[in-house]
Amino acid sequence: MLPSRDLMHRRRRLRAVVSGDPPRYPEEEDLWPRRALEGVIVDASPHVLTLALADGSEVRLPMSATVSIWYDGRAELAALRPGRHAVVRPAASGGLAAEQIWVDIARVTGVITKRTGDVFEVDAGPHRGRLTVTVPAQAMRRVQVRHPRLEPGSLLDVIGVRRGHEILGLRPAHTSPQPAPHAIEPASRREAESVRILRGTATWFDHPDGVRGAAYPALDPYGDGGGCGTGPVTRLPYLSLGSEVRVRNECTGQEAPVPVIECGCLAARFCDRCVRCGTSPRGRVVELSRSAFVDLGGDLDAGCFNVTVRVDRP
């Protein structure tokens, strides 16, 4: 399989050969609202944060006066220790001044396969493998508010911090309970636009540093579409790896085209609603990589935002 960027360009070019329309490369037009940065902290002072990026380069970011730091909740500058991973959102006013920093934030989403005390083994889907997360005793009650059945076969979605090779799950990643399957209303077939315009929830997932992309639940399971073959619970239009979706954060109004880089095999099994700004009309329709999520105005510690996804121009 080609790297996803090459695959996306190749498929756009070949599709254009058939359609006669010139291929579009919107990600080259720098339409991203803001550029989040991810990397390992090299040095931190009250005024400057130095990050080592995934490509080996280093970048020095000035701290804005109102910088907010997250490390297992709101934290002070002391949390910015060298060696820790950081995701930085630049200030909205422009430039690279850091406005929000998440330190060693991690998320575990999947199906519990094994539980030993407060240690859970979670199947995160065919692309992400199995993860181990520890839910400390003081966080257990909070997690159980949204996941009352913490036993094999149940869904789990927690946000926490990464400490070395260990992930500590500290809080449930969604803010509304998982409704019963009969509570899910399928999209109306009478509304012509509703098939290609999806209004629901966007969440984020852990992906190698700096990659901007989306995991979409309904990738074609046949051929080289990249689908998992498990089939989405709710019906979504079929796309493939390299397709493009247009994502709009309904809470902030920010919008950007996002390439599909992975199958969100488990996303559609979560029927929870995001309540960041009103209640999202349906469950998870797209998962965004950390950078894409932050670029679109999402707060990683909140876990979701209400979203409108257009798939009409893949």
Partner: protein, 311 residues
Amino acid sequence: MTELFREVQIPFLAAVLLAAAAGKALPRGRAQVPARYRDGAVTLALAAGEALLGVLLLTTSMFAVRLASVVFFATATSVVADLVHSGSGQACGCFGRFSAGPARRLGVVRAGVLTGAAILAAGVHETGAQILASADGRSAALLAADCLAFLALSPEVAAAVERRLHPVPCELRDVPLDATYAALRPSAAWREHAASLTSAEPTDVWRELCHRYLVYPGEVDGRPVEVVFAVPVDGGPAAVRAGVAWSSGWEHQDDDSGPQRVHSPVCGRRRTRGPAETSPPRRPRRDRSAETPHPGGATGTSRVGGLAGRR
């Protein structure tokens, strides 16, 4: 009248069992049973059992057979109720591929009514064949009433009506590759390019909304090309389109023209050429974007002009 009503249940239940067996035995019906039974051998065994029970109801009046039919329908009621209660959205697969939708309460009611009919018919002394042989107008009317009630309680019929009234949009339709190949192979676009293909297997297959794209390696004038077919997931061979691009691995290109679409088939109200009018494949031009996949290199297709059948 009551006795007659009990008697007609025997051929009615036999017909239901035989129909269920036929539905499961159809090749595409074998995957539609609940996941825990999703094994072709198990499905075929179940179909064989249903067929055997149906035939025995028609040919014998043994009480054991009648009892077996009661147990069978009671078990079916329990299984369907379990599926509905679990809310898993699984199909019951009662009639193979015809029962592809999620199990519904109506299916539980139907299975329960069939169980009741089997209990009613347990004490009948005639075989199903004997009852059919001596059937009069009243028996036929009762049998027809049974069938109508059965259809009214069938979620498959309700789903078929729903599909007819509100068809599933092509974007949401799960279409296997076999159906795509079935539309591609008889198409004019395939016939036009078949001679230039160097492999019968596509190198890339992907789907976007209502189209599935298949890329085949080919050769034109000794140069490697990629032939792209766009097959609509809800259309027939007439709607298949094709285009040719230089293979991205081709390094010895000596002209600077862009990619050329060589087949522009039938689409909408535009006039299309029949096979006799179709010109021979033109030489594909060089695709710059194949080498530099960025906006600057993507201008080749904009030069495609005078071609009918744009999407």
